[in-house]
Each structure stands twice: as C-alpha cells, then as structure tokens.
C-alpha cells in the first residue's frame, strides 16, 4: 500500500489511521500496532515539520508492507538530506531543559526492531522495520 501525502499534520494522521486499519486487518496485535503508529507519527511529523517546512504544496510518500514476519513502513521525501538514525544514539536526558526534538527518534528506536536510512535519487528514504515474531511492546530500557 502506497500513500501520497501533503506536508501537513492532518495528512500524517491520515497515514497513521490507514496504517492502523491495515494492521488490524492483518491481525497484528494491538500493542504492536501502537508502536507502529507511534513510529509513523514521529517520522512523518519530522518530515512535515523539518524536511518540508509545513509547505502543504510539498508531498511525501508512505509505503506500508507486511511480508512474512516483518511489518515495514517506508517514508520518502525530497527535503534536504537528513539521517535521523545518526541522532538515534542520544540517550534521553533527565534535565527538564532537554530539547524535545530528539524524543521522537528515541520512541521509534524503542518500539521498532530496525531503522534504515539512505539517500537515493534526491530523496530521503527511511525504512522502519518491526519483526512480528518478537516482543510486542517496547524494548527494555537501558
């Protein structure tokens, strides 16, 4: 399933609702669906707010695929090159002045089993992978 979306928060949530319905129809456990939808919301919002600067004329793409034991979400945008996985190693801070911008990728890391980034033909391509054979909830917090 491929969705062409405009760069608005409402379109991000349209993709999230589509993902939720698709995953429910595939029999994916609710707890896993929560993690998948959260990951898509965070990554989609990042594209809309940062890569495409909330310019509703701009578009990005979300592809959703369920193959065997893997559930895969692939996001493509034509914004400036940005690798969110490069910032994924930062640990959340207990400092109340912590910048929230890094929280999204922390959540994605916890709920998913793989995040792959590549720059391809002028596009950011972010591939989110959840192995359905694994635990449904977030990974343990280290």
């Amino acid at each position: 399933m491929i969705l062409e979306l405009h760069a608005t928060p409402e379109e991000v949530m349209r993709a999230v609702e589509t993902l939720e319905q698709f995953a429910q129809a595939q029999g994916v456990p609710e707890k896993t669906i929560f993690g998948l939808t959260l990951a898509l919301e965070e990554c989609g919002s990042n594209i809309v707010n940062h890569a495409l600067q909330r310019d509703a004329r701009q578009q990005f793409q979300v592809a959703i695929e369920h193959t065997g034991d893997d559930f895969i979400i692939e996001l493509r945008d034509r914004g400036p090159a940005f690798d969110p996985t490069a910032a994924a190693g930062r640990k959340p801070q207990a400092d109340p002045d912590d910048v929230p911008g890094g929280w999204g990728i922390q959540l994605v890391r916890r709920y998913l089993d793989g995040i792959q980034y590549r720059r391809e033909a002028g596009e950011n391509v972010l591939r989110l992978i959840k192995r359905l054979g694994g635990p449904a909830g977030p990974k343990s917090i280290c």
Binding site: P96, D98, L107
Partner: protein
C-alpha cells in the same frame, strides 16, 4: 482520531488554584496545537496545580509530551506549582517511561492516590476530598 479537551477549574475554597484538563482521544501532531492554545488560555489565570486526567487518552506522541513538559516548566516557574497525571492507560504510561523526561511531575494511579499525596503537602490549595 480527534482529541476532546475538557477543562475544569477549581471553585473558590479548597480547590482554588487547581485546574483539571481531561483528555480523550489522540494527542498528536495534528491535535497538540489546539491543546496548546487552550492551555495558554487557562494558565493565564491563577493556577498552581495542573492535573491531567488521561483516562481517555489512547495515543500520545512527542508532540504531546512537549506540551506536558511546557506545562511542568510553567508550573514550577510559578514557585511551588505542580503538574500531575492521573489515570494513565498502560500504553501511554509506557511512552512516559521510555522518555523518562518529566522529572518533578507527579504521576498518580488515580484521584485517590493524588488525594493522598496532596493531603501530605503543606500547600494552601488542597484537592477537594482531602478535607474531611
């Protein structure tokens, strides 16, 4: 999924200064701006205890967590103010746990737990029900 926001302000007397924000639905990139608008409005008055009732909140992302963080900082900046959370759904509590980013925020299982906590606080503003 939309977000329903209900705001209840404590009446004069023991509950004065307490505002409860009840959230139902999804707090996400599309709905967070409306909550932010309503929070700015309600925090403009005399508020020293902000309670978020999350019994009906099914989904929260970092866009929502950012608002909770803003609320906490504003309450602390008022000197002795506090933000509390009650009735979290398990999946929402998990998100809080992962971020571990809201130090100083009281997280309570329900109103009774909040009542017990507030009863021990040396605050002039007491949650209704703690005064017998």
């Amino acid at each position: 999924m939309p977000l329903e926001i209900q705001i209840e302000k404590g009446a004069d007397g023991p509950a004065a200064g307490t505002v409860t924000i009840k959230l139902t639905g999804s707090l996400d990139t599309a709905t967070a701006p409306e909550l932010e608008r309503q929070m700015v409005s309600c925090l403009a008055g005399r508020v020293n205890h902000l309670v978020f009732d999350l019994a009906g909140l099914k989904f929260v992302s970092s866009a929502g967590l950012r608002l909770f963080q803003v609320a906490r900082k504003q309450m602390v900046a008022r000197g002795g103010g506090q933000a509390s959370f009650i009735n979290m759904q398990p999946q929402v509590e998990e998100v809080f746990t992962i971020i571990q980013s809201l130090p100083g925020i009281g997280v309570f299982k329900d109103l009774e737990a909040l009542d017990r906590y507030l009863a021990t606080r040396p605050s002039p503003n007491v949650w209704p029900g703690t005064q017998k």
